[in-house]
């Protein structure tokens, strides 16, 4: 719970560019964990897929104005002495990376590895910076996982995927997303 609390506190000190009417643009909403805290889960936790035991411990959500260039600080936690290789890429429509796209790091005595990603905001929307991490522990175990930073540029617009489907209702009124079939009729 401490993690969630600190995320929201950190967010509250950041400039919010959206208007009050833009209800969806709220860092509390972006970061509002819905199920995956121990408090919500009772005595059970969410059971994740296997992968590197690396997490983003600092901010995962950033806010930029169109045209703004900024260094996004990335703080990762891992196992002391762990060697980390991070490949960085971005949604190219909305963001342009302005620096190195690979980082070789080692987790320090405080279980931290940090770096910054210079990025320029190109288009309004919600965009993702991909962090593909390969790690090797002092024991020699090699593992990997994907992580992401979310960058909000300007006010909220449609999700960046561009393929979000409109819903219909079925005969019982339940929402459905109709996926087109390739159909062969004989």
């Amino acid at each position: 719970m401490k993690f969630l609390t600190m995320m929201i506190l950190a967010a509250s000190h950041m400039p919010l560019l959206a208007t009050a009417a833009d209800d969806e643009f709220s860092f509390a909403k972006l970061t509002g964990q819905t199920l995956n805290t121990h408090e919500h889960m009772g005595v059970h936790g969410c059971e994740h897929k296997p992968g590197a035991q690396i997490n983003v411990s600092g901010r995962e959500f950033f806010n930029l104005q169109r045209g703004q260039l900024d260094d996004l600080s990335v703080d990762l936690t891992g196992i002391v002495g762990e060697k980390i290789s991070v490949q960085v890429s971005a949604d190219t429509k909305g963001l342009a990376l302005q620096g190195p796209q690979q980082f070789e790091l080692e987790v320090d005595a405080n279980q931290l590895a940090s770096f910054s990603v210079p990025v320029k905001a190109l288009l309004d929307g919600r965009w993702v910076i991909n962090l593909i991490v390969q790690s090797q522990t002092a024991d020699g175990e090699i593992s990997a996982r994907a992580m992401a930073l979310v960058v909000q540029v300007g006010n909220m617009v449609a999700l960046s995927g561009g393929q979000q489907k409109a819903t219909q209702n079925d005969a019982q009124g339940a929402p459905i997303i109709v996926l087109p079939a390739q159909e062969e009729i004989l």
Binding site: T31, G42, F61, L159, D170, A174, L179
Partner: protein, 591 residues
């Protein structure tokens, strides 16, 4: 054991120190052509009247290449009883077809292989016959080849709708795939509204396409929900092969192309990782292109399905949280994750787990559950757990594995009353103890598998365990506590915060009679002990007061054995900057 491609060297960046927070983050129309179908209609299918008297015009809902003939017999109306006409047309049309989805496999050296997409049958999914008024006229389920059958009145304007749902009876299950970023709307694959025609048969084959074109997902990813379901199908049929009478509660899968590995609001897609949540009986699946998509990663889906099976058919007290193959974690986490890995290999009949990620899904993290060489072998390590369980299952002798019992005895053990009502907590010990008891001829061979993973404890409670992984306070696995007795136990975060193997200590608490009892935990002033109490696998109570140096609970308890879980809050608060070795005196008294 591990595959990673496309990694290139780059600049080294030095580390900066900031605050430490370990984030445990925490699915032709008109029948103008008569042709042999790809399948036989089911025996005596119900005759469906669409009730549609409208003009038959072909409207394809497909955005991509439909090969349907558009020689629609416009002007034909589907009047009710119809055997139409003097032309000798059929009154009833056997409408059948096959549903397939695009399967994207893995390249041998890593990454998804979009150059070898193959159409696979959508097995066990729900198919509806829909009329022009969007009414459901009939519902069926595809067979093991993806085939479906309906009987419909001739000249009826109907369409085929395939729900992203697996459904089965005896054994029973219902699995749905919906979009958590879109009001949990269920995915459906839909064909065109066209006439059933006048021939005695009509075939409508539907294919869900991957959406991959020109090096990206530039088209609708219709196959994804069905790829997820097909991996689940294999897992559920493995369970059914071992126990045909199981009844599984509904399983939900939430997949979206917006599901990304950032942690936040699930409704916006920030799910952190593909995972199983016992809270809502839901598997969340990543789908963000170029970041991490899991719909074609059988191992990932079946690993999470394994968590669901453990949760619903057996029991699970796993804390969840961060873990990797060689971490030393709480025995409940180690067992749950090791079971998930082993189950995925059993369900896929493939010992290699593959997880694609990165640009164009071109990289793969993979491991082989048959690789029995870990860095942290023991009862607290998921690699050791999956190694033992898979070796019990498989028939491959990879060195010292002379056991080949298949899945049935494993599921029987985890599904047994002995296991479910076991007073201790989930771990490798009770599972193996029951499997050994039920398969006496394999006892020695199973013991060998355990010893090869440096798991030496025996019985349901791991008595006599000597592997402390270098931290003696981790043993014994269970201390014994009874009224008038006190024990010293220590909590640490040496291995890792919150769910590390040394964070929590366990005491078997024997209650001689129904009465009121007081549990008292005392430590030094820099400690903050907390406790949880378990009875036969059920959570009984917890006390987590922010009180320095002590925690006391008075509660009426029933005769029998409880498991008391003791830890220091600073070792379980996701903040590895706090905590450390914290020792407590734990006592139990009546009154």
């Amino acid at each position: 054991m591990y595959q990673w491609n496309n990694v290139v060297g780059a600049a080294v960046k030095q580390v900066a120190v900031v605050s430490v927070l370990t984030a445990l983050t925490a699915c032709g129309g008109g029948g103008s052509k008569s042709s042999a179908g790809t399948s036989e209609p089911q025996s005596n299918p119900p005759v469906i009247n669409s009730g549609n008297t409208s003009k038959n015009t072909l409207s394809s809902s497909s955005s991509s290449s439909s090969s349907s003939s558009s020689s629609s017999s416009s002007g034909i109306s589907s009047s009710s009883s119809s055997s139409s006409s003097s032309s000798g047309a059929a009154a009833t049309v056997a409408l059948s077809g096959a549903v397939t989805y695009d399967r994207v496999g893995h390249l041998a050296n890593g990454g998804l292989n979009y150059k070898a997409i193959i159409a696979m049958p959508a097995r066990g999914v729900v198919v509806q016959l829909i009329n022009a008024q969007s009414e459901t006229l009939a519902t069926t389920v595809t067979d093991a080849s993806g085939n479906y059958h309906f009987a419909v009145k001739a000249n009826s304007n109907v369409k085929i709708r395939v729900l992203a749902q697996l459904k089965n009876t005896n054994p029973s299950w219902l699995v749905d795939v919906a979009d958590n970023t879109n009001n949990n709307a269920g995915y459906v694959l839909e064909g065109s509204l066209v006439s059933s025609g006048t021939n005695s048969t009509q075939v409508r084959n539907l294919r869900a396409a991957s959406g991959w074109a020109d090096g990206s997902y530039s088209q609708t990813r219709a196959a994804a929900p069905f790829a997820i379901l097909d991996s689940i199908y294999d897992g559920l049929h493995l369970v059914a092969s071992a126990d045909g009478s199981v009844t599984l509660p509904d399983l939900h899968v939430r997949w979206s192309e917006n599901n990304v590995s950032a942690t936040g609001n699930y409704a916006l897609g920030f799910i952190g990782s593909s995972m199983y949540s016992s809270y809502d009986s839901t598997i969340y699946v990543l789908g963000k292109e170029n970041n991490d998509t899991d719909e074609y990663d059988r191992g990932v889906i079946q690993h999470e399905l394994g968590h669901y099976i453990e949760d619903k058919l057996s029991r699970s007290e796993s804390l969840g949280g961060a873990h990797n193959l060689d971490s030393r974690v709480d025995m409940r986490v180690a067992f749950g994750e090791g079971w998930g890995n082993a189950f995925s290999a059993m369900a896929a009949n493939d010992s290699v787990y593959r997880d694609s990620m990165g640009a164009t899904q071109g990289q793969t993290f993979k491991f082989d559950v048959e690789d029995n060489q870990g860095f942290a072998k023991g009862w607290f390590n998921e690699r050791s757990i999956h190694s033992v369980l898979y070796d019990i299952f498989d028939s491959n002798n990879d060195g010292s594995d002379s056991v080949a019992l298949g899945f049935k005895p494993i599921l029987a053990a985890l599904h047994s009353t002995d296991y479910i009502n076991f007073p201790g907590l989930t771990s490798i010990y009770p599972a193996i103890d029951i499997i050994k008891r039920n398969n006496s001829a394999s006892q020695n061979a199973i013991a060998t598998l355990m010893q090869n993973q440096t798991i030496f404890g025996t019985g349901m409670y791991g008595e006599g365990e000597t592997n402390d992984s270098g931290y003696s306070a981790m043993l014994p696995v269970y201390e014994q506590l009874s009224p008038g007795v006190s024990k010293t136990v220590c909590s640490n975060n040496h291995w890792q915060e919150t769910n590390g193997a040394d964070v929590r200590r366990y005491l078997l608490m024997t209650i001689p009679s129904d009465n009121q009892y007081t549990i008292n935990i005392k430590g030094t002033s820099n400690t903050d002990p907390d406790l949880r109490l378990w009875r036969n696998g059920k959570f009984a109570l917890q006390s987590t007061l922010a009180k320095a140096g002590s925690e006391t609970v008075t509660k009426r308890l029933s005769q029998g054995v409880y498991t008391l879980e003791v830890y220091d809050s600073a070792n379980a608060d996701d903040d590895s900057n706090t905590g450390g070795n914290m020792c407590f005196s734990v006592s139990l008294s009546q009154g």
